[in-house]
C-alpha cells in the first residue's frame, strides 16, 4: 500500500510542482530565445559573409574562422589569453588558499582581515582597470618608488615576450605586459577565492585534524594529507569560476591597457568588440564570439557533466 502511494506520487505532479513549473516557464522561454537562440544566430552569422555595414547572409563556410587563425592579432590574443588564464588562476588559488589558511589560525580581528581582502571584489573591473592603469604606468605610480632602488619596469607597455619563439605569425611566449594585467586581476579576485577557501576550511570537521595529530602527523602533514584533499572540490569551483572570467575578460583590459603595442595585452573580447563595432566585420566578430564560447565550454562542460552524474 505504502509503495503504491509513492509510485503514484512520482507519476502525478503535485500542485506545488505545477506552480513551480508555471513560474519557470516564462524565464525558460526567455532564456531559450535570448540566450540559446542568439547563440545559434551568432553561429549562423559567423558562417556568413557579413563583413560590411550591409548584412550579407550568403554562406561563407569556415572562411571567417580560417582568417582568424591566420591573423596576427588573433594568434596574439590566444597566446595572451592562455598565459593570462594560467597565471591568473594559479595565483588566485595559491594566494586565496594561503591567506585563508593564515586567517583560519583563530586570529584576533579575523573579520577585519577577511573584509579587507574581500573588499576589492566589490569594485567593478572598470574601476580596477583605471586605478591599476595609473599604479602600473611606467611614468607614474609604483615606478616612483622603484626607481629609487634602481629598477624601472615598463609594466604593461613592455613589448617583450619572455622565452619567445616564432610560432605561426607571432612570437609565442609569456608577454611581459600581461603580467601587469594579471596583478590587477589577482588583486581584485583573490578575496573571492579566499572567501571560498575559508568556507571550505570551516567545513572540515576539527575531529579529522585532531585524529591526524593523534596519529603523530606534523602540522604540515595535517595540511598536506588531510586539509588540502578536503579542499579539492573548492579548488575545482574556483578554477571554473576564474576560468570563465579570464577567458571572457574585456572590461579590465579595455579600461587598463587597451590592445597594447603589438597587441601584447589584447584579448579576444576586445578584438571582437573593435572588429564588429568599429570595423563592421560582423561575421569575423561572431566567429570570435563562438570561439570564446567554445573555450569556456572546455572548462564548464566537464564540470556540468560531472555534477549531473553526481546528482544521479
Amino acid at each position: 500500500m505504502e509503495k503504491e502511494i509513492q509510485i503514484k506520487r512520482k507519476r502525478r505532479l503535485t500542485k506545488d510542482q505545477w506552480t513551480a513549473i508555471a513560474f519557470l516557464i516564462p524565464s525558460f522561454l526567455l532564456i531559450l530565445v535570448f540566450v540559446y537562440g542568439f547563440i545559434g544566430w551568432t553561429g549562423y552569422v559567423s558562417l556568413s559573409n557579413w563583413n560590411t555595414l550591409v548584412p550579407d547572409f550568403s554562406f561563407a563556410g569556415l572562411k571567417n574562422y580560417i582568417f582568424l587563425f591566420h591573423d596576427f592579432r588573433f594568434q596574439a590574443d590566444l597566446r595572451n589569453t592562455l598565459f593570462f588564464t594560467v597565471l591568473f588562476i594559479g595565483l588566485v588559488i595559491i594566494l586565496g588558499m594561503g591567506i585563508a589558511i593564515l586567517i583560519d589560525q583563530k586570529l584576533k580581528g579575523e573579520s577585519i582581515f577577511r573584509n579587507i581582502f574581500l573588499f576589492p571584489m566589490a569594485l567593478s573591473f572598470i574601476v580596477t582597470g583605471v586605478v591599476w592603469q595609473w599604479l602600473l604606468n611606467p611614468s607614474t605610480g609604483f615606478n616612483h618608488f622603484l626607481s629609487k632602488v634602481g629598477i624601472e619596469p615598463k609594466w604593461y607597455t613592455d613589448t617583450n615576450v619572455l622565452a619567445g619563439f616564432e610560432w605561426g605569425n607571432i612570437e609565442f611566449g609569456l608577454p611581459v605586459a600581461i603580467i601587469a594585467v594579471v596583478i590587477a586581476a589577482v588583486w581584485q579576485m583573490t578575496g573571492f577565492s579566499l572567501a571560498m577557501y575559508l568556507a571550505g576550511l570551516r567545513g572540515i570537521p576539527e575531529e579529522l585534524r585532531e585524529a591526524a595529530r593523534m596519529d603523530g602527523a606534523s602540522e604540515f602533514q595535517v595540511y598536506r594529507k588531510v586539509v588540502l584533499p578536503m579542499l579539492l572540490p573548492i579548488t575545482v569551483s574556483v578554477i571554473i569560476i576564474m576560468a570563465h572570467i579570464s577567458l571572457k575578460i574585456f572590461d579590465l583590459i579595455y579600461a587598463m591597457t587597451g590592445s597594447g603595442a603589438n597587441f601584447v595585452t589584447d584579448v579576444p573580447g576586445v578584438y571582437m568588440f573593435e572588429t564588429t563595432f568599429r570595423g563592421n566585420y560582423y561575421a569575423n566578430g561572431a566567429a570570435i564570439a563562438i570561439i570564446m564560447l567554445l573555450l569556456v565550454a572546455i572548462f564548464i562542460v566537464p564540470y556540468l557533466w560531472n555534477s549531473r552524474k553526481g546528482d544521479q
Partner: protein
Amino acid sequence: MKKAYGFILFLALALVLAACSSDSSGKSDGDSESKSGDSDSAGGKVEIFSWWTGAGEEDGLLALIDLFKEKHPDIEIENAAVAGGAGTNAKAVLATRMQGDDPPSTFQVHGGAELNEGWVAAGKMEPLDDFYEENELMDKFPEELIDLVSKDGKIYSVPVNIHRGNVLFYNMKVFEENGIEVPTTFDEFLAAADKLQAAGITPLALGDKEGWPATQVFENILLGVLGPDDYKKLFAGEIGFDDKRVKEAVDKFDKILDYANEDHASRNWQDSAQLVANGEAAMINMGDWAKGYFNNDLDLETNKDFGYFAFPETDGDFMVITDTFGLPKGVENPDDVKEFLKVLGSVEGQDAFNPLKGSIPARVDADKSKYDEYGKDAMEDFNNSRLVPSLAHGSAASEGFLTKVNQAVNIFVTQRDADNFTQALQNAASEL
C-alpha cells in the same frame, strides 16, 4: 557536505553574475536610450543623435538646439547623445538602430567614407540635392568639402564644423630655450628633433593607447610625400600601396617614431598632450581639438604658451575632419528634420556651435570675429588650402580598411618591419 559545496558554488556564481552585470546594465542603458528615442520620433520630434557629450562640444550642441527652439518653438527636439569611446559606443548603437530600420531623425557622421561607403552605400540615406538648392548652399561650402559628402554626384549630408588634422602643436618655451625655429620641411623637422633629443627633451609626444594617434601621424606623412592629389588617388584605389612613395612614407614614419616618448602605448592623446604642456616633450601632432584641451583644461594660452604649425611638407593642405548631419531613409517627419538641417547649415547656426566646440565653421562666409586667434588662422587656411580627407578619422576610407590599418600601424610601431607593414597595407587595400 556535498550540498554545502553546491550552495557555496551557487552563491559564488550569483556573486560573479552580480559583478558581471555592471557591463550588461551599461549595455541595456544604451538600448533603453534608443528605445525611448524610438517612441519619440513617432511623436513627430526631431531626434539628434551624436556623441557630443564632452565639455565644449555639448555646450555647442545645446546652443544649436536653443537656436532651433527659438526659430521653431512648435517642433520638439530630442538630444540623443551617446557618450564614450570617442564615438565608438554611439556608432555601435547607431548601427543597431539603422539595421533595425529605426533610424534617428538625423545623426552625426564624419564626412567622407564613413558617410559615403557606410550609410549611403548601404542605401540608408536620402539625397539632399534639392535641399542644397532650395537653401542656396552650393557655393557656401568649399567644393572639395561638398565632394566629401557626395557619392555618385548626389549630396547626402550637411557639414557643421571643421577640424584640422595636420597640425603640430609645440611648447613655445621649449622651442625658445633650445633655439629651434618652426620646421617646414621633413629634414628641418628631423634636425630640430635631434637637437631636442640631445637636450634631453622628448621631441614628439605620442599617445597611441587607442591606436589612431599613430595612424594620424602616418597619414600626415603620406600627405606630405604624395601631395593632395595623389593622396586622394591612393585611397580611391588609383595608386597602389606598392607605390615606392608609400615605402618612402613608411621609412619616414619609422624615423619619426624614434623621437616619440617611450611610454606612448600607455597614454591616450590627452595624456600625451600633457607632456607638451609641462615641457617634457616639445611637439605633438594632433587634430586641432587639442587647442581646446590646452586652452580650457590645461589653462595655456595660444601663441604664448603653445604655438602651432602645419605638419612638415603639408603647408597649403588641410586634413579635414568634418562632422556632418544627414537625413536617413524612413524618418516620419523629414520636413521637420530638414528645418533642423537648415539651422545647422546656416551662418547663425554654425557660429553658435563652433566657437563653443572649438572648431571652425564649414561655411566659407561665417563671422570671423566670433572666433579666437587660432580659429581665425584656421579659417583663413581652410579657405585657401587644398582639402584632403583624413584616414584616421574615417573620411578617406571605409571603417573596415581603417580598422586594418590601425592594426597594422599598432604592429609596426613596435616591430618596425617596413616590408611587413607595406604588405599589410596592400592586403587591406582590397577593402577599399
